[in-house]
Symmetry: C2
């Protein structure tokens, strides 16, 4: 079931600019133990994205009411919120006054095998790269064909995530996650000022690392940096943290920094000031 602008719906107008041009934004929010995890962080990112795309802002109160109505009988679920620029304009040109479309839906909580956290996953490098675009960097927008094509590269069910580079060969993120690695006790993650999606869990992990006094480096890294890393992991709001036990032919351990971060994030997920009750 979807709520489109507050009403139950299963379809949207064919002239919607989200459909025509990927002209919109989305958020995917974990609902666990009857909490919208990091709700306020997600909404902040959504509003920031709207500002950057010059889409009129949705009312956060309305979003919360609608999200609650979708999961009132759920303990665990996933809520997706989509904002498009609505219809109108001339071709790519947005209308002077946009009337955004807003829709929300709830999915079942994905039952990822717990071994992905405890034993780590196998990952691959993607051949599809991410284009550099400072104006769109960090935003979770609807023009996601690069990531779709990257995710379509492999069919081996043993491979769980793919690591994407940008068009200049810098490591950026997983197809559906952010990426961290550890080298000599330092936690490293790619700079996302030129492309990539600035994940909520990525922010949370950086904060937790600071509290744990683990040094964090946000920088530009190439595959040679990953080759000599001690630990790797992927992260997003739904999966939490998935350590990497193998990337292509190279094996990695779930080392002490990853373990410390996982345990710290686990406690945050139980209770955080940015959560909101269902």
């Amino acid at each position: 079931m979807f709520l489109l602008n507050g009403k139950a719906a299963d379809s949207i107008g064919l002239e919607d600019r989200g459909l025509m041009y990927g002209d919109g934004l989305f958020e995917t929010i974990a609902v666990r133990n009857r909490q919208f995890e990091f709700w306020h962080r997600h909404i902040q990112r959504l509003l920031d994205g709207c500002r950057r795309l010059n889409i009129p802002l949705p009312d956060p109160e309305v979003l919360l009411i609608e999200a609650r109505s979708l999961v009132e009988n759920c303990t665990n679920a996933v809520v997706k919120i989509v904002i498009t620029r609505g219809s109108g304009g001339r071709g790519y040109r947005p209308p002077e006054q946009s009337h955004p479309n807003r829709f929300l839906t709830a999915y079942d909580w994905p039952d990822y095998p717990p071994e992905r956290q405890t034993q780590g996953i196998v990952a691959t490098y993607c051949r599809n790269t991410i284009g550099i675009n400072r104006m769109l960097a960090g935003i979770k927008h609807l023009s996601r064909l690069e990531h779709v094509m990257a995710r379509s590269e492999w069919h081996d069910e043993a491979i769980i995530e793919g690591l994407m580079l940008d068009s200049t060969g810098h490591v950026i993120e997983g197809t559906m996650s952010n990426f961290f690695f550890v080298k000599q006790g330092q936690l490293c993650t790619p700079d996302l000022s030129t492309c990539g999606v600035a994940g909520i869990m990525r922010d949370v992990i950086q904060l937790r690392a600071q509290r744990l006094q683990i040094p964090v480096k946000v920088g530009r890294f190439i595959t040679a940096d990953i080759d000599i890393a001690d630990e790797l992991f992927f992260t997003n709001s739904l999966i939490g943290i998935w350590p990497v036990r193998q990337l292509e032919h190279k094996c990695y351990k779930i080392g002490p920094v990853t373990q410390a971060i996982m345990s710290s994030v686990q406690s945050t997920r139980l209770n955080d000031e940015s959560h909101e009750a269902v």
Copy 2:
């Protein structure tokens, strides 16, 4: 009115991947004097795009029947064809068996002022750039947010088109058109093997130039090349050719090469073997 998978419709399922991820393709085809101009070229590009995105191919016969049904009472119009990957899959991951959605609609012929052809237009450089992505280069896909943002940069109605660079500073195309310039009698247009939309009219112009024995160079150009060019023009299937009389503060003439190409394309548009009758 839209035809969605052959039936009159005004809406599409909210789980469609075109909407969710910009996962699809489109074509915009000129209908003039009861001809679908360059129909077979448009359909070829659409099918090529489907192959590259691994979307099952639409039946060209069906597309033609449906397009005809939309414009049976029109002399001039615009037909838009959209193919999405349909719904399904897990997140970005496409389903093993896609069931594409296909929809077509017809718009009124845009009555662009004829002075744009006869006197040329004023253009600007866009600050929004195009990301490099060889896997998607040339395709007219639905993930078009870069072009939407570029077109939203200016509100001055005297400026008609914006010239976009890629993230490495190379000139690529207009927000809704391809770009050509003339230098010392040579017709030049940006190489689109790393990004940009390979327009049908761009192909036609290159062929016409060959027949006119005008040398054509497809290459990588920077703004300094444009600064010293003799003539500039934008082109797409609807506008034909719009010479540029001013780009930023620099003025250009509608020179002999542009005039020869315009006149040659004009005769092609009257009758071409890739046209199809309405």
